[in-house]
C-alpha cells in the first residue's frame, strides 16, 4: 500500500500549498473559526477537483422510488443506501474539507507573517520532574538495583584495591558498590501561558468590529497555542463594568452604555494576582476597543494601572484599536504618548479586515 500513501502525501502537499496561497484570505475572513476543533481546524478547499464538462444543478429533480402522492414532500434521506461499490462508479462533487493541525496552521501563519518564535522569559525555566528512569544513584529499593553498574563498581573497587586475581575472577559487591536506577529530573521549560482577551462591548462596537476582533483573536490563539504546551484563554468584556464570559458570549454579547476601560484592566490584574501568577504563567493580555473612553481621568487610571501593575507582570500587553463609525480613536494616542517607549506595550489600529494581518504581525512580531 506504499504507492497510495505516496499519492496521498502528494495530495496533502497540494492542499497545503493551496491553503498557504489563500492564507491572506483566511486572515481576513471568519471562515475557519467555526471549524476549529480541539487540535485541528477543518479547512474547506474549494476547486481542487478537476473540472469536467458536466451537467449543472439547474433542475433539482430526477427519478425516485417509493410511496407518496403527487405533491408529497420527499424525505431528506439521500444518504448512501447500499454499501457496495463497484469500480469506477464514483462521482466526486463536493467541497473538500481538510483537517489541518493547529500546529501546522500556526507554522503557515508564522511563515506568511515572518513571525519569530517566542523566547521564554528568563526565569521561566522551572525544573519539572521528568518521568524517566534513566539515572543512577547509590541508594534505592532492591527492585531497582542496576546489576551491571553494581558489578562494574565492585570490579573497579576490587582492581584498585589490588585484590583482583585473574585466576579466580570473583567479584563480590559490598554495600558501597550497590547502584540503583533512579528517576532523573530534567529541566523542562515551563510552558504555560494565558491569554486575556478583553473587549469593549459598549454601544459603539458594531457587528463588523466584533468580527474583526474575532478573527484577530482566532489567529493569535492559533499562534500562541503552537508556542506553549498549555494555553488558557480568558475572555473579558466590559462597558462601564467588566466581567469574565465564555467564548460564545465574548463575540456575540452586545451591551450598551458607557465605556470604562479601567474596569477591564482592574479585572485582568485581579485575575493575574489570584489565578495566573507571573512566576508560573506567561501572560498575554489583549485589549480591543474603538478607542473611546469614558473620561480622560479613566484613561489616566488605565495608564497608571498599565505602567505600575500590568506591564511588569506580563510578557506583552497588546492594544488593538478597531475603527468604528463613532469611535474617536483617542485611547491609542493616549497610550502611545504615555507609554510608547515601553516595549512591553504594543498598539495597533485596524480600519478594516485588510489590516488584520498587519495587526497580528505587530502583536506577535517581537517574539516576546
Amino acid at each position: 500500500m506504499f504507492r497510495i500513501e505516496v499519492d496521498r502525501a502528494r495530495f496533502r502537499e497540494i492542499v497545503r500549498g493551496r491553503i498557504r496561497q489563500d492564507l491572506r484570505k483566511y486572515l481576513s475572513n471568519s471562515e475557519l473559526i467555526a471549524r476549529q476543533g480541539e487540535r485541528a481546524v477543518s479547512v474547506p478547499v474549494p476547486q481542487i477537483e478537476l473540472p469536467h464538462f458536466r451537467f449543472g444543478e439547474n433542475q433539482k429533480s430526477g427519478v425516485g422510488q417509493g410511496p407518496g402522492e403527487k405533491g408529497d414532500a420527499l424525505g431528506d434521506q439521500e444518504g448512501e443506501a447500499g454499501g457496495e461499490g463497484a469500480a469506477g462508479d464514483r462521482e466526486g462533487q463536493h467541497i473538500l474539507e481538510v483537517e489541518v493541525e493547529i500546529e501546522e496552521l500556526a507554522e503557515m501563519l508564522g511563515k506568511e507573517l515572518e513571525l519569530p518564535n517566542i523566547q521564554p522569559r528568563g526565569k521561566r525555566d522551572v525544573s519539572t520532574e521528568g518521568g524517566r528512569y534513566n539515572g543512577v544513584r547509590r541508594s534505592g529499593p532492591d527492585s531497582l538495583r542496576h546489576m551491571r553498574r553494581t558489578f562494574k563498581a565492585a570490579l573497579l573497587r576490587t582492581i584498585s584495591a589490588g585484590e583482583w586475581d585473574p585466576n579466580d575472577p570473583r567479584v563480590v559487591p559490598n554495600r558501597e558498590d550497590q547502584r540503583y536506577r533512579a528517576r532523573k529530573s530534567s529541566p523542562v521549560p515551563d510552558s504555560s501561558a494565558v491569554i486575556l482577551h478583553m473587549m469593549d462591548v459598549s454601544g459603539s462596537m458594531g457587528r463588523e468590529q466584533k468580527e474583526i476582533v474575532r478573527i484577530e483573536a482566532f489567529w493569535i490563539d492559533t499562534w500562541l497555542r503552537s508556542q506553549y504546551k498549555n494555553l488558557e484563554v480568558v475572555y473579558i468584556v466590559h462597558d462601564a463594568v467588566a466581567k469574565v464570559v465564555d467564548q460564545e458570549a465574548f463575540f456575540h454579547l452586545r451591551e450598551s452604555g458607557g465605556t470604562k476601560i479601567s474596569s477591564a484592566y482592574e479585572l485582568a490584574l485581579k485575575l493575574i494576582q489570584e489565578q495566573y501568577r507571573p512566576e508560573d504563567w506567561n501572560i498575554y493580555p489583549f485589549h480591543y476597543s474603538d478607542g473611546d473612553n469614558w473620561s480622560a481621568r479613566d484613561t489616566e487610571r488605565c495608564i497608571s494601572l498599565l505602567k505600575d501593575e500590568l506591564l511588569p507582570r506580563v510578557n506583552q500587553f497588546c492594544y488593538g484599536q478597531v475603527k468604528s463609525a463613532y469611535g474617536s480613536g483617542q485611547f491609542k494616542k493616549d497610550l502611545d504618548e504615555a507609554l510608547g517607549s515601553d516595549e512591553r506595550l504594543v498598539t495597533s489600529s485596524v480600519a478594516d479586515r485588510g489590516d488584520i494581518a498587519g495587526a497580528i504581525r505587530q502583536f506577535l512580531g517581537k517574539g516576546r
Partner: protein, 444 residues
Amino acid sequence: MNVQYARRRSGSLTPELALWAERIEKVARGHKLDFFAIDFELLDAKDVNGIAAYGGFPVRYPSWRFGMEFERLEKGYEYGLSKIYELVINNDPVVAYLVKSNSLLEQKLVMAHVCGHADFFAHNCWFQATDRHMLDTMGQHSTAVRRMIDRQGLERVERFLDQALSIDNLLDPYLPLREHLAKTKPTSLGTPPTYDILGFLCERAPLDDWQREILRIVRAEAYYFQPQRMTKIMNEGWASFWHSRILTGGVLDASEIVDFADCHSGATARAPGRINPYKLGIELFRYAEELGQDVFALRRRHNDASLIDELVDETFVEREMLFLYGKNPRSARTEVTERDWRKVKDRLLGDLAWGGLPQIELVAVDTEGRGELVLRHHHDGRDLQLQNARETLLRLAAIWKGPIELSTREEGEGRVLVCDGKDVEVREVPGAPPASSGDSSGEH
C-alpha cells in the same frame, strides 16, 4: 459461447473461504453463469480502500487524485459512514477483493455477487471490446508515466496529466463496440465530425511525444471504464439477482437466512431521492423473468438505457413506485411531481442517454483558418455547469494550443463559449439554438 477459464489459486483466502469460493462458483456455473476464473484476494479494509482509490487496480500511475480519493474513503470508513464490501475488476482472470473484517455470511454473499459481475463482464456486449488484460495494461501505464516523471519532472507531467484527465469524458461511448462488431481498426481518428475528441487530439494535437503518450493512456483507461458506467444498473442488478438465487438455493443454511435477508435488503433498499441501481436492476431482471423473457439474452444485448427502454412499462413503474421529483417553487421543497409512467420512463432514459455524459461533438476544425476547434453540445434539456465548462475549455485549449468554440444552451437560450486560451467569453446566440440530434438511447 462459453469462456475459457483455468482454475486459479486465490492465494490469500483462508482455507474455509477458499472452500466456499469453490463451492459458490460451482453453484453459479450450475445456474449457467459463465465466467473467467476469479482471483479472490482477502485484504484488510485499509488496503481495500487503497485499491478502490485506484479504481480497483493495485497499480496505477501516480496522481494526487487517487490520494484524494483514498483520503475520502479512509475518512468515510473511520467515521463509519461508508464501507466497501466488495470490489471487482473486469480482467481475465477477474480479480475480486474481499474485506477481512466481513462476516462469513457477508463473504459468501460477496462471492456470489462477484460471480454475477464476472458473468456480466464476460458476456455483456459492451464489454466485448474492453481490454481483458487491463491489470497488466494499467501496470504498463504506470511504468510509462513514472518514466516520464523521471525525465520531465513531476510538476510538468502532473500538470499535463491533470489537463488530460479534465477532458477524459470527451469520448464516444458507442465507438469501441462499433469497431468491435465491424472488426475494423479505427480508420482515421483525425476526421471530424466525431465524438471521440480524445482520439482526435491523440492524432492531431501538436504535442510532445510524452504528452501524446499520456493522452493515449488517459483515453485507453477512459474507454475501459465507460462500459461500467453505461451498465451500472444492469450489472448490479444481474449480480444481485444471482447472489440471491445462488445463496438461497442451498449455499446458506437455515440459520443464515435472516442475516442474509438483512444484508441483501440493505443493499437493495429503495432510496426516495435517487435510483438505487441494485434495486432497480434486480427488479428489472425479475420482471423480465416473469414476462417469460430470456434474461441471459437480455444481459448480453443491452445497456442500462436500452434495457429500460425494452422493459419499463406502466405495470413496472407502478409496482416499483417510481416517480419524478422536483422543486416546488412555491414551497421551496422537493416534492413528488409526477407518477405518469411515460414521463418517468422518458426521464430515466434521458438521464442514462449517451452513457450519462454530456453529448459533445467535434463538428469542425479550422473552418476559419485560425486553427479553431468547433464543439457542439447536443442539449437534451440539461444545461452544462458553466463554470466547470469554462475551466475545462481552458484546459482543452492548452492541449490543442488553439482557440475552441463550444455551442450549448443555457436556460433555453443559445450560447457559444469562446476560448482563446487565456479567457472564456460567453456569447449569446440569437435565433435558433442548437437542437439535440436525438439519438440518445443505446443502439445495438
